[in-house]
Point group: C2
Chain length 172, copies 2
Amino acid sequence: MVERSFPVPIDQRYFEDYVVGTTYEFDDTVTVREKDIVAFAEEFDPQSFHVDPDSAVHGQFGGLIASGWHTTAVMMRLLARHYLSSVASLASPGVDELRWVAPVRPGDALRLRATVVESRRSRTKPDRGIVRTAIELLNQRDEVVLRLTAMNLLAARSVLPEGTDGSPGPSA
Amino acid sequence: MVERSFPVPIDQRYFEDYVVGTTYEFDDTVTVREKDIVAFAEEFDPQSFHVDPDSAVHGQFGGLIASGWHTTAVMMRLLARHYLSSVASLASPGVDELRWVAPVRPGDALRLRATVVESRRSRTKPDRGIVRTAIELLNQRDEVVLRLTAMNLLAARSVLPEGTDGSPGPSA
């Protein structure tokens, strides 16, 4: 089941709202312009195929491509705008299996697909939990350009898991 | 054995020059200023603890911290400046086990440690190979702030592995 929007507004979203198995695809896109690619790469990744359009034409990619770290930054922009709670996000321990699957070129319009793959409440700090999310960034031809698994530490709405907070549970 | 510089200049460095087991530590640092942290995060990761110094003081980190994607971008800047060949780097398939181990704060001076962990010539395209590098970014107190394993596709100097290019080998 693919959802087009999150059922809970981003500023009211907590650990409990990330339900394993749900996939979100957001229509909003970020268009990566040539000047964005060059500006980012001049500061952080000045390889010729990221900063020099003329030499890049004769290179293996046949033109300028975005730094992979620029692509991850664009992914984060969409994640912060649509998926990651603006009130409950505490930190990220890291990401796994990050793959730059296809080049990002000037004019590409990127969008986000996110699937909740694991949700685990902290045993030592039950006011929070870790959510693992399989993330894909897609271009305007629906090609995946970036894939990774993110970990996010999120505050919980309730200190206790549902059903253990004193309210009558199914077996009460 | 920790080396302070690469034996081969960056513009003459090829696949064969990345020798498994060698660790490089480069003295050069990048200092991350508060305005850099805020500018990067306003564009890509506008969470309050990255963009708002006043609210960040009362947050869990006790002050502003850099976006993790800003930290990876700084890592790439040092990698491109000191480690990754400027003539033989073809692409990167991705990275594994990326971990933001400690916060990066305004004024932190970051430097690079890189260990070649695997080097494998392509079977299908013997003019290139994949190098896996364990990377750490350290701050001015020698604390690791970022850890990841990078993969880089690099052009080889010689199409054939050493000892198979027709020159007399040790057993000739």
